[in-house]
């Protein structure tokens, strides 16, 4: 941090005072909130049985407020589109992965994938679900990328794009399908609710995992670039 | 939702047709390529002639007591109203006939100059706006077309595209846009007070409670200021002389038909059909208006004396002459009113003659200044003859139209007990003579200089017929209007007819 002149110091002082006033006000407002507030918990528990899942958070995310989640998948896709639209960086310095990292990744990747699968499945009745699973999957992807792995040429074209939109696509498809079948938008009739939700979550997990990894990668992977030994290695 | 579907019979559509007869050709012309000369001329003339026919029809209809009114829903509680009443007929007939003439003139004047499609497009829009102003049945409609007129004339003023022209255009806008803003404020305020803006004979404000009279006076000032800009009342006249940079047909239109007349006509409307002359008088706003007009009359004439540029001299003469109308309106009394109204027509016809002639001199011999006019009468006798008639008319010499209006103004002033006005009229007539007679003297009696700035030859004729016919026609018109002043359908008779409507029996 460079030396501050008096003007800047004064400005910061004023700002500090101002913000502490703001903080005080907000704190006061918070403290004035009622001590007991059931919020919507009772309603959620009442409707949990007809939601198709037994984990309240998942029920809210995928069923009660599923519309939010749908739009949120769109946000994720948007982030990727935006990043890709910014073009590719001129050159990025790659540090050659050491033996340790390489070894570690070989051991961990399968584990990660397994964990994410478990999280996805458990989300129906315990903490967990698509986002947790997706982020673990993403971790695996990041690890791979760090280890120098690059997606195969065959993959970075249409297949990759399909995987990226899969979550949103599935969501929209279900939303429209139930409507065509005579129910409301995103209404999950009880007998199939669980299945539909799991379907959506599975697709979402995959998309989220790949999207986050791709975001970490930072630009659209060039087709037919730095393939070679690592590619095959990555593909098993 | 109800969008006012009324039974649209023929009478209700006629005003629309009158608008369309110049609007549609104008819009088509915009999209014509430059070289489609014949099509453009056809469109222009067809529109102008159709309009004359329609207006003639309406004139007769109104005379036998028909009602022509178009209503379109525009704002909550406010319609767009186009109505042909006696007063609008006076203005609309003038502008229609003069438009026909000016179109012919413009076609001749602008032969193979650039951007003609653009020019004639806006030219037609300009006339559409003027007709709209004439037909407006309430203040809102009036404002609408008044603003449209501003927008349509701007491109005509800057048409030449020189730096000078752009500057003139900027000045014109600065004045007119601000004027429009004042007018709009006044209108909205008035609507807030009364809940109606419908033009009605003898006004619609008289029954308002006296606590609102101060507001009404302020509104009157706002409205008159807004209208005074276009009517070039001193001190709002600054744009007019500068606008002289525009091509001659445009100046003719601006001065005789469209812009200044729209302003003057607006003043007439506001005083008679919004406030009502008696009520305006009781508010005590008419005398200041009269004084303002009087000042303008003298000021314009004095400034005209010192202009060597012919068109500028005519411009200042316009500043002075148009205020006769405002003066006649502001003098509370039927005879003065007749004088003012009839001058609306007479001034138009005479002034357009003068501008046509000025244009001819410029086009044919490249003469722009009075000092270059020595002996031009022998080179272009017909043109100068027309010019002479126009000039004498302006001075108010019998038997030309100008005499009639001044005569009635004078009588009206005495009748209204405003004797001081006589001196104004006399003084301005003297001044008119002082700045016109030297011109005529130079043209007829001075030795011709060896060679003109630029001399175009048109075979045996002194200039192109399209340039020569219009001034001759209007000069002839201003003579007949004077000689046959009391024939049926003459402006004078029509003005009498209007006056009977505006003054309580």
């Amino acid at each position: 941090m460079t030396k501050l002149n008096n003007k800047q110091r004064l400005f910061r002082l004023l700002l500090l005072v101002l913000l502490s006033v703001l903080a005080a006000g907000l704190g006061y407002a918070v403290l004035k909130l009622p001590l007991q507030a059931p919020g919507l918990s009772t309603r959620v528990t009442e409707n949990l049985v007809v939601s198709g899942v037994s984990n309240p958070v998942t029920a809210v995310l995928l069923n009660f407020r599923g519309y939010d989640t749908l739009l949120e998948m769109a946000v994720l896709l948007l982030a990727l589109l935006a990043v890709w639209s910014l073009g590719s960086q001129s050159e990025r310095r790659e540090s050659a992965p050491g033996a340790v990292l390489d070894m570690l990744s070989r051991l961990l990747i399968p584990l990660f994938i397994m964990v994410s699968g478990y999280l996805l499945w458990v989300g129906a009745h315990a903490p967990g679900g698509a986002f947790q699973a997706g982020s673990v999957l993403a971790a695996a992807g990041v690890l791979l990328l760090l280890a120098g792995w690059r997606p195969g040429v065959w993959f970075v074209g249409l297949p990759l794009r399909i995987t990226l939109v899969l979550g949103l696509a599935m969501f929209v498809a279900v939303a429209v399908a139930v409507q065509l079948a005579g129910w409301r938008l995103l209404e999950f009739p009880l007998p199939v609710a669980g299945t539909l939700i799991l379907l959506i979550e599975a697709a979402a997990t995959l998309s989220i995992g790949i999207t986050l990894a791709a975001l970490f990668f930072g630009h659209r992977p060039q087709t037919g670039q730095d393939s070679g030994s690592q590619t095959e290695q990555g593909e098993k | 939702m109800h969008f006012g579907r009324r039974a649209m019979n023929w009478n209700a559509l006629l005003p629309l047709f009158i608008l369309a007869s110049s609007l549609l050709p104008g819009l088509v012309i915009f999209f014509l390529p430059e070289d489609r000369v014949r099509t453009r001329i056809t469109l222009n003339m067809a529109g102008a002639i159709i309009k004359v026919v329609l207006v003639g029809f309406v004139l007769w209809g109104v005379y036998i007591g028909q009602h022509y009114e178009t209503r379109l829903p525009f704002l909550p509680g406010l319609d767009l109203v186009l109505r042909a009443d006696a007063l609008s007929i006076l203005f609309i007939t003038l502008s229609t006939i003069l438009w026909l003439v000016t179109t012919i003139y413009a076609i001749g004047y602008l032969e193979d100059s650039p951007h003609r499609s653009r020019f004639f497009g806006f030219f037609s829009l300009c006339v559409t706006a003027t007709v709209g102003v004439a037909l407006a049945g309430n203040l809102l409609t009036f404002v609408l077309f008044y603003e449209l007129l501003t927008l349509a004339t701007y491109p005509l003023i800057v048409h030449r595209g020189t730096e000078e022209a752009r500057h003139a255009g900027r000045t014109y806008l600065t004045y007119t846009i601000i004027g429009g803003a004042l007018l709009l404020i006044g209108t909205v305020w008035l609507y807030g007070l009364t809940g109606t803006l419908e033009f009605t004979h003898r006004g619609f404000l008289a029954e308002l409670v006296s606590t609102q009279h101060n507001a009404l006076i302020i509104i009157f000032i706002l409205l008159i200021a807004g209208l005074g800009v276009k009517a070039a009342l001193v001190p709002f006249h600054g744009w007019l002389p500068q606008a002289m940079i525009a091509p001659a047909p445009v100046s003719a239109l601006l001065h005789a038909v469209a812009v200044v007349k729209a302003g003057a006509f607006g003043i007439v409307r506001v005083v008679y059909d919004v406030y009502g002359i008696e009520f305006a008088d009781s508010l005590g706003v008419t005398l200041p208006l009269a004084i303002m007009a009087a000042v303008t009359i003298i000021y314009g004439s004095v400034r005209a004396l010192f202009q060597d540029d012919l068109k500028r001299r005519l411009a200042f003469s316009t500043v002075s002459q148009v205020s006769y109308i405002a003066l006649g309106v502001a003098l509370v009394g039927p005879i003065a009113t007749i004088g003012g109204l009839v001058h609306l027509v007479h001034q138009g016809v005479m002034k357009i003659t003068l501008f046509f002639c000025a244009g001819n001199l410029a086009e044919t011999l490249g003469i722009h200044k009075v000092s270059q006019m020595d002996g031009v009468g022998r080179r272009m006798p017909w043109t100068m003859a027309a010019f002479t008639i126009g000039a004498f008319g302006m001075m108010g010499a019998p038997p030309i139209a100008g005499f009639v209006s001044k005569w009635y103004l004078g009588l009206g002033a005495l009748d209204a007990g405003q004797d001081w006005v006589i001196f104004i009229l006399a003084g301005s007539s003297l001044l008119n003579a002082a700045y016109f007679l030297p011109v005529l003297h130079r043209a007829w009696f001075k030795e011709a200089v060896a060679d003109w700035p630029t001399d175009h030859h048109f075979g045996r004729r002194e200039t192109a017929w399209a340039l020569l016919f219009p001034p001759l026609f209007t000069a002839f018109l201003s003579l007949t209007l004077g000689l046959l002043a009391s024939m049926p359908f003459s402006p004078l008779v029509w003005a009498r007819f209007i006056t009977t409507l505006e003054y309580a029996p």
């Binding site: 407002a29 507030a37 896709l77 948007l78 | 909550p76 022209a165």
Partner: protein
């Protein structure tokens, strides 16, 4: 088919269609322009269908998933939201047609999916009745807008995009915090329910302050407008158009909903303050626009000024005033998009947008110039145009309620607008000396700009329709209107 037609509620379609469109454009880049146009038409059609549904059924409330507030999310369509949707559809269609010709395929690949997502965000925003759902749409909107700005490339655009991103995120965070306080006070984020349960607690005041501040920042109300001109001026022409025409209106729409429905009727101090800021925006924006040397900067500052008008309705706060400001909002959307598209044509044709050297360019593109001029008429508020109607209504209310100073502001704003618009148009008529190496501009680009401008004019001749539409569900006669009018009625 007819059966289907009836059991589909058209409310979700304006959101789902662009989402599908975005995915299709992303998956099939080779057919992208065709796809984009088709989807754009489909969206417009769906909005039109929604209009028909509202016209014969009145206000629509649709609970997604069948749960209903407070547990679920409701979609709500009244005259106000419908008008915003129609405006978006109209402008969006024009911009789409323009974009087909404007973007080379390398940019188009990125433009279309982003634009589709932005469109989805707008429609979702105008349809939602749920504050948290609105937060998500706000983020979707903000991020896509930022990405679109950055699409122009180059240091200026990237810098502007970065600044825009921070502003957008900051605004959303303020909104989110306020929303959190509201939820924890009343256990719902549904606008209608909040409207019933609201009380004057410290938390509510805090929420009101936070959310208003965040949304004002996104709406770029003076003095929070600093980010707008660079962002709007450095983006590609179609993007500038949709930012100025639509994006800033979205946050204003939420603000309007909150103040009309949710927040407790305030003492008129606050609304007076908002009006004051609006007035400052009108004058400051106008003066800045007048000072600019580059056309797109001028237009961007004009947006700052025009946004100010919308806030003058707050102190007037009668149904008519709201209608007036909404009318200005819509006609500004049409006119301003037309202006930016026209500017894009001039820029594409002459290779620069320095106002003093526009002469030849303007004379070679008469249709584009006409578009600019017509749009200008509406911006100046001259008759006949949508701008005039809006201004008339506001003037009328201001003078009736004796608050003549707002009328003065309105008129000054118009005069300034006239000054900076004719500053541009004046050059169009000068005989050009400077020759520009002309790049041909496609007729599609010229006509889309011209038709949008024409729409802004036509809006001034059909006012009964929009005004009648605004009454559906009567969003405007609410507590706020009531108190303020009683406050000022003399």
């Amino acid at each position: 088919m007819i059966m289907l037609w009836h059991n589909i509620s058209w409310q979700a379609m304006p959101v789902l269609l662009p989402l599908v469109g975005a995915m299709l454009c992303f998956l099939l880049p080779q057919r992208i322009k065709f796809l984009g146009l088709m989807i754009a038409l489909a969206i417009a059609a769906s909005v039109f269908a929604l209009l028909l549904q509202v016209l014969d059924e009145g206000v629509l409330r649709y609970s997604v998933g069948g749960w209903g507030a407070p547990l679920g999310i409701d979609l709500y369509t009244d005259g106000l939201s419908l008008l915003m949707l129609l405006m978006t559809a109209l402008v969006g269609l024009g911009i789409s047609i323009y974009a087909i010709a404007y973007f080379k395929s390398d940019k188009a690949v990125h433009f279309w999916p982003l634009w589709m997502l932005l469109w989805a965000a707008l429609n979702a925003l105008f349809l939602s009745a749920d504050l948290f759902n609105l937060y998500v749409t706000l983020e979707l909107l903000g991020l896509s807008a930022v990405a679109l700005v950055a699409l122009a490339g180059g240091a200026n655009a990237l810098g502007a995009a970065m600044r825009y991103l921070f502003v957008s995120l900051l605004g959303s965070l303020f909104y989110l915090l306020g929303l959190a306080l509201l939820y924890h006070s009343f256990a719902t984020v549904d606008i209608a329910l909040l409207a019933q349960r609201i009380e004057e607690t410290p938390a509510v005041w805090a929420a009101m302050g936070l959310m208003s501040a965040g949304l004002l920042l996104k709406t770029a109300l003076f003095p929070l407008h600093f980010w707008l001109p660079p962002a709007h001026a450095n983006a590609p022409a179609p993007v500038s158009a949709l930012l100025s025409a639509l994006v800033v209106k979205a946050s204003f729409y939420i603000l309007l909903r909150l103040w009309l429905d949710v927040f407790p009727p305030t003492n008129s101090m606050l609304v007076q303050f908002l009006g004051l800021l609006g007035a400052c925006a009108v004058l400051w924006g106008g003066l800045q626009a007048l000072r600019q040397t580059r056309l797109k900067m001028l237009i961007a500052y004009s947006t700052v000024a025009q946004l100010g008008y919308l806030f003058i309705a707050f102190p007037l706060a009668t149904g008519m005033a709201w209608k007036g400001s909404l009318y200005l909002l819509i006609s500004h959307a049409l006119a301003k998009s037309a202006m930016f598209l026209a500017a894009g044509n001039l820029l594409r044709f002459g290779g620069h947008d320095r106002i003093t050297q526009l002469d030849r360019v303007a004379q070679r593109l008469p249709l584009t110039l006409a578009a600019f001029a017509l749009a200008g008429v509406s911006i100046m508020g001259l008759p006949p145009s949508g701008g005039f109607i809006g201004k008339w209504l506001l003037l009328d209310v201001a003078l009736r309620s004796g608050q003549w100073w707002w009328a003065v502001i309105l008129m000054l704003g118009s005069l300034l607008a006239a000054a900076y618009i004719f500053k541009v148009i004046g050059h169009a008529f000068t005989q050009a000396e400077v020759a520009h190496e002309a790049i041909e501009v496609s007729k599609m680009m010229e006509w889309s700009a011209f038709l949008l401008a024409l729409a802004a004019i036509v809006l001034g001749l059909v006012s009964p329709w929009p005004l009648a539409l605004m009454d559906i569900g009567s969003p405007f006669n609410t507590a706020l209107s009531a108190t303020c009018t009683s406050g000022v009625a003399q």
